[in-house]
């Protein structure tokens, strides 16, 4: 553990030197197509995900966001093309990626702490060790005191915190989040978005974040990839830079924030009936 953290800045520095122009990618999607029978969900899609940053996949529903995320996760095989994580080709799920599900996918018969530790349990980590790790992440997501509650006793927002803590506890470098906040109420959602910003800042991880909310994408992202359907493709890549360093409360009033929201709406509006 410690060795990796110490070594990180060095490798990052050397990598930056090697690829001086292009930013260092944690995940590369190369010419990926995916057909479900006759339905072309993705067609020849390529995209780079810069290390340590949050990239949003934004687009109308049905344009293949979940499909792309599950291909990156290794849960689905692409029809053609390849995915690389840290330069190695993806052939299936791996310890370098962790998934946060839209419907939470918690085990209803397991307590919060067992759910959070489930990824470690599957990796064969001893019970006392995985529970102490789980306790730390339960605290980080603000669920202290609910360790022995069951999922049905929690609100939607709290359940998604359990899903997030589970993904964080396996310490993967890449976090894949599929519309994680779509099933929670608006207030909780805003709090989540703020928490996500501080996670990106403090955890040295790459986030791939699927959303259909323009405001949400602009608020949390370092890079936004706009996906359009029929045929599915990346139509635009936007990198909001001006307000990233700003205080979380003032982002929504920043002129650049508002401009980008308008600009995205202008390009998406024709796809919304």
């Amino acid at each position: 553990m410690k060795g990796i953290i110490v070594a990180m800045p060095q490798t990052e520095a050397t990598m930056k030197k090697q690829t001086s122009a292009a930013p260092d990618s944690a995940v590369s999607v190369r010419n990926v197509s995916k057909n479900y029978g006759t339905v072309e969900a993705l067609k020849n899609l390529s995209l780079e995900f810069p290390r340590g940053q949050l990239t949003s996949l934004l687009g109308p529903s049905g344009c293949g966001k979940t499909t792309l995320l599950k291909i990156i996760a290794g849960l689905l095989q692409p029809t053609s093309g390849r995915i690389e994580v840290n330069g190695a080709e993806v052939e299936g799920p791996g310890p370098d990626r962790a998934f946060v599900f839209q419907d939470f996918a918690l085990l209803p018969w397991a307590s919060v702490i067992r759910n959070v530790a489930f990824g470690l349990e599957l990796r064969g980590v001893a019970k006392s060790e995985r529970e102490s790790i789980a306790e730390r992440y339960i605290r980080d997501v603000g669920l202290t005191g609910f360790e022995h509650s069951y999922p049905h006793e929690l609100s939607g927002g709290m359940r998604q915190r359990v899903g997030l803590a589970r993904a964080l506890s396996v310490d993967a470098q890449v976090l894949l989040l599929d519309e994680p906040f779509s099933a929670v109420d608006e207030q909780t959602r805003r709090k989540f978005q703020e928490d996500l910003l501080s996670l990106v800042k403090h955890e040295n991880k790459t986030f791939i974040f699927v959303t259909h909310s323009i405001e949400e994408a602009v608020y949390v992202s370092d890079q936004i990839a706009i996906l359009l359907p029929r045929p599915s493709r990346v139509s635009e890549i936007i990198r909001p830079t001006g307000f990233r360093h700003k205080d979380v409360d003032s982002i929504r009033r920043d002129p650049e924030y508002l401009d980008i929201v308008d600009q995205i709406w202008a390009s998406l509006r024709s796809y919304v009936e």
Partner: protein
């Protein structure tokens, strides 16, 4: 507050037994004894030990048949639920078994296996196994796909998916299949003693009816119902012990 279910149970028992007593006193039929006469017969049979001798006979096909049905039924149900090939091969057998009129099968069984224990075990299994198999396989097939996907994304091996996702997710329906199957097994055990050879509790029923000792006949029937209820309650305890969280409801939304 904690005792309320118990009080309710006692109350409903009192109402049922009270109604029985009244119906017996009217009497509804000369062949229908009162509750108290029946209990008297039960106590008599308990004291002279004849009821224990009867159960020593009846429990043999019952326990063996139920144990075989539970073990084979759950194993086959898992296989059928996991593999479409097994489904194709075995499902029709159990659907037919569930629908078949048992009374019509008994002569065939007697012809093939004689009038001994084997035939009786078969009757218990024919009654108990189909619902256990069919419940188990449909529960396995209906495991939420998102939970299996979650397990795969966190690097679960096939064995983990079976033991940590599919089995616990299916357990409520497997247990309800077991409950139904075991109740049917009790029916099967008594039926086999009435239709094949009168032994055990079936013998008490047949014999006391032939000599018009209706209290004894009803006492035997009452005792087997009591045994079934006690057994099903024990099974529920086992389920609660094994799958504590399932008890606390499903978080489906």
């Amino acid at each position: 507050m904690q005792n309320r279910p118990l009080i309710l149970k006692l109350l409903s028992a009192a109402i049922v037994f009270g109604a029985w007593e009244i119906a017996g006193r009217i009497p509804v039929s000369y062949a229908f004894p009162t509750f108290l006469e029946t209990m008297e017969a039960l106590v008599r049979m308990t004291l002279d030990g004849s009821i224990f001798q009867a159960y020593a006979e009846t429990l043999k096909p019952l326990v063996l048949g139920v144990a075989i049905s539970a073990f084979l039924g759950i194993t086959l149900g898992l296989w059928i639920g996991l593999s479409s090939w097994f489904d194709w091969l075995f499902s029709p057998i159990f659907v037919v078994m569930q629908a078949a009129p048992l009374a019509a099968l008994i002569p065939i069984l007697v012809m093939a296996y004689g009038i001994g224990l084997t035939s009786k075990i078969f009757v218990v299994c024919i009654m108990a196994m189909p619902v256990i198999v069919l419940n188990t396989s449909s529960a396995v097939r209906n495991t939420p796909a998102s939970m299996k996907e979650m397990a795969h994304s966190f690097l679960a091996k096939d064995r983990d998916v079976l033991l940590k996702i599919i089995l616990p997710a299916a357990s409520p329906i497997i247990f309800s299949g077991l409950r139904l199957g075991i109740s049917a097994g009790f029916i099967g055990a008594i039926l086999s003693e009435l239709k094949i050879t009168p032994t055990g509790v079936g013998d008490i029923i047949t014999y006391s009816r032939s000599i018009a000792d209706y209290p004894s006949m009803y006492a035997a029937i009452f005792s087997i119902i009591l045994l079934a209820v006690v057994f099903l309650n024990l099974l529920e305890k086992l389920e609660n012990y094994l799958f504590e969280g399932n008890n606390r409801g499903y978080a489906s939304d």
